[in-house]
């Protein structure tokens, strides 16, 4: 270690300060920018699928509408949307309470609430949607069975399976992001319990919050695109 580096190390640093930065403010901004760039990547990642979905929806509209209408159940999609919106609020409140210097118990409560809501979302998805789909043989690759009411689709019937493939792929990838998010929340909970955060240092909470809200936004689009668009009203 050179002398300069040593003198740099010798400064008193706030918790969580990394050596390559000059100030904690610089570090906070770098972290925020990094997360926003990551979210840009995520937008294009999900965007690739949205593009494919848009193209095939315009090519096979009746089949996509039939899949949405006959298989997906709006009440679960709507409930889950509400659950995720609640979790976004509790996440924002967790950051707020840490930022305003509330007792760590308060922050932990909000974090735990967020985790519970996230798990509720996954629970509903698994138990009432994916599991039911499996039971009713509408999972592509796992004994997908065409239903008699789709016979009117004629030759386009096959594309109902394609719709379900997109449905599972998109909601599956979204659910994977939720699982990662809950993992992050667990880490944040432990950090809070160990008094890592103070009103001056909430960067990890803020950055994770951005991620959590982004996952919410993805669902905000998945819900109408998969559950609502076309074919819910009586034909």
């Amino acid at each position: 270690m050179s002398d300069a580096a040593l003198s740099h190390e010798a400064h008193a640093h706030p918790p969580g300060f990394a050596h390559q930065f000059e100030t904690i403010e610089q570090q906070r901004e770098a972290g925020q920018l990094g997360m926003w760039l990551f979210l840009m990547t995520e937008i294009l990642f999900f965007g690739g699928m949205f593009t494919a979905y848009t193209v095939y929806r315009s090519l096979h509209l009746p089949a996509f509408e039939a899949g949405s209408r006959d298989i997906l159940e709006v009440q679960f999609g709507a409930t889950n949307t509400a659950v995720l919106i609640c979790s976004s609020l509790t996440m924002a409140m967790a950051i707020h309470s840490a930022h305003t210097g509330k007792k760590k118990g308060v922050t932990m409560m909000w974090l735990i609430l967020t985790m519970i809501l996230g798990l509720t979302f996954l629970g509903i998805k698994l138990r009432f949607e994916w599991y039911e789909d499996y039971i009713h043989h509408v999972v592509p690759g796992f004994g997908f069975q065409y239903r008699p009411e789709w016979a009117s689709l004629g030759s386009q019937m096959g594309q109902v399976q394609m719709f379900m493939c997109f449905y599972f792929f998109m909601t599956g990838l979204h659910a994977l992001h939720m699982v990662v998010g809950i993992g992050i929340l667990t880490v944040l909970l432990i950090m809070t319990a160990r008094n890592k955060f103070s009103p001056d240092y909430v960067a990890p909470l803020e950055i994770s919050g951005l991620y959590w809200h982004f996952v919410d936004i993805v669902w905000i689009f998945l819900f109408p695109l998969l559950y609502l668009i076309g074919g819910r009203y009586p034909h």
Binding site: P62, S152, L153, G154, S155, Q156
Partner: protein
């Protein structure tokens, strides 16, 4: 020298000349700028070589006019090339009304060619000189690429769709036919020959080859064997097809399409997707029951009922 080291492919179609002129122009642009840049670099390298180790050269400034000049001049050249190339491309994409048609089916790893008069060929294509010919192509498996360098034409051949190109050969001779879209193990064996023949030789070839019934005749036969003729008659469950080909048609979903090869194919395998107003959705799909060749025969038959017949009928 030219024999062992040719630098130009034969040019044997009406399209080739235009493409070659543009090619020469682009080659000229490339040579000009390459020589320009190389000579300036060599000149500067010698003139301004470092003469002593601690030499500090004088400062120069970049005049805005110069920067603008070498931004705008290339832009102008690009605009010229774009319009020239696009003009040729659009022209080369529109087959003349007098074209006759030939059908091509690509499959791993051969070209299957079908003349409307009946003859079939594998990896060989006989065409008459000075006659515009439209090639309608489809693939039975993966994507292939239909390429005749001497004609300067190329188009990928896709499964589930028809693509088409046209050419008018203007020089009698034998030319290469290649597959240019990688299609698997024997991609490089998916080659053949194009024989451009004088009109009389071509007529003799047609007469002398194996005598199959013409494509539209075969199509007509299929049309009745498959039961199509039961419904597609005036007053039947399906629309009469006479005079439909090549016309704009309004569909039940409100859209308007020209009835072309791809649309007829779609009507056969996905009848409900091209539902006509005033008709019930009763036609069954023939998906999986026809091979690509039979499909083309049906299309040739519908085509033979073309607009002319309606004119006669009215």
């Amino acid at each position: 020298m030219a024999a062992i080291f040719p630098i130009q492919p034969p040019a044997a179609s009406t399209i080739a000349g235009g493409v070659d002129q543009l090619y020469y122009f682009l080659t000229g642009i490339t040579l000009f700028f390459t020589v320009l840049i190389f000579s300036i670099i060599f000149y500067f390298m010698i003139k301004y070589r470092r003469r002593s180790p601690d030499e500090i050269p004088p400062e120069t400034h970049a005049p805005l006019a110069l920067e603008l000049a070498w931004t705008l001049i290339p832009s102008a050249i690009c605009v010229v090339i774009f319009f020239w190339a696009s003009y040729l491309y659009v022209r080369n994409s529109r087959p003349p009304a007098s074209s006759t048609e030939i059908f091509v089916i690509g499959k791993q790893w051969m070209w299957h060619i079908q003349h409307p008069e009946g003859p079939r060929e594998i990896n060989e294509l006989h065409v008459p000189v000075n006659q515009p010919i439209q090639v309608t192509m489809t693939s039975q498996d993966v994507i292939h690429g239909f390429y005749i360098p001497a004609f300067r034409i190329k188009k990928d051949v896709l499964p589930g769709r028809y693509t088409s190109i046209w050419f008018e050969a203007d020089k009698v001779g034998t030319y290469h036919l290649y597959c240019t879209e990688y299609c698997g193990t024997n991609h490089s064996h998916m080659i053949g020959w194009v024989y451009v023949m004088s009109q009389s030789d071509y007529a003799a070839w047609l007469a002398g080859g194996e005598q199959n019934e013409s494509m539209s005749k075969a199509g007509e036969h299929l049309f009745s064997v498959l039961g199509c003729s039961g419904c597609h008659v005036a007053g039947g469950d399906g629309p009469p097809l006479a005079g439909m080909y090549g016309q704009s048609q309004k569909f039940a979903d409100g859209s308007t399409h020209v009835v072309d090869d791809t649309l007829i194919r779609q009507a056969i395998i996905q009848p409900d997707s091209v539902q006509l107003p005033n008709y019930k959705n009763v036609m069954p799909t023939f998906k999986g029951q026809l091979d690509e060749e039979q499909m083309l025969q049906l299309i040739a038959y519908v085509k033979s009922l073309g607009p002319e017949e309606r004119k006669n009928g009215q």
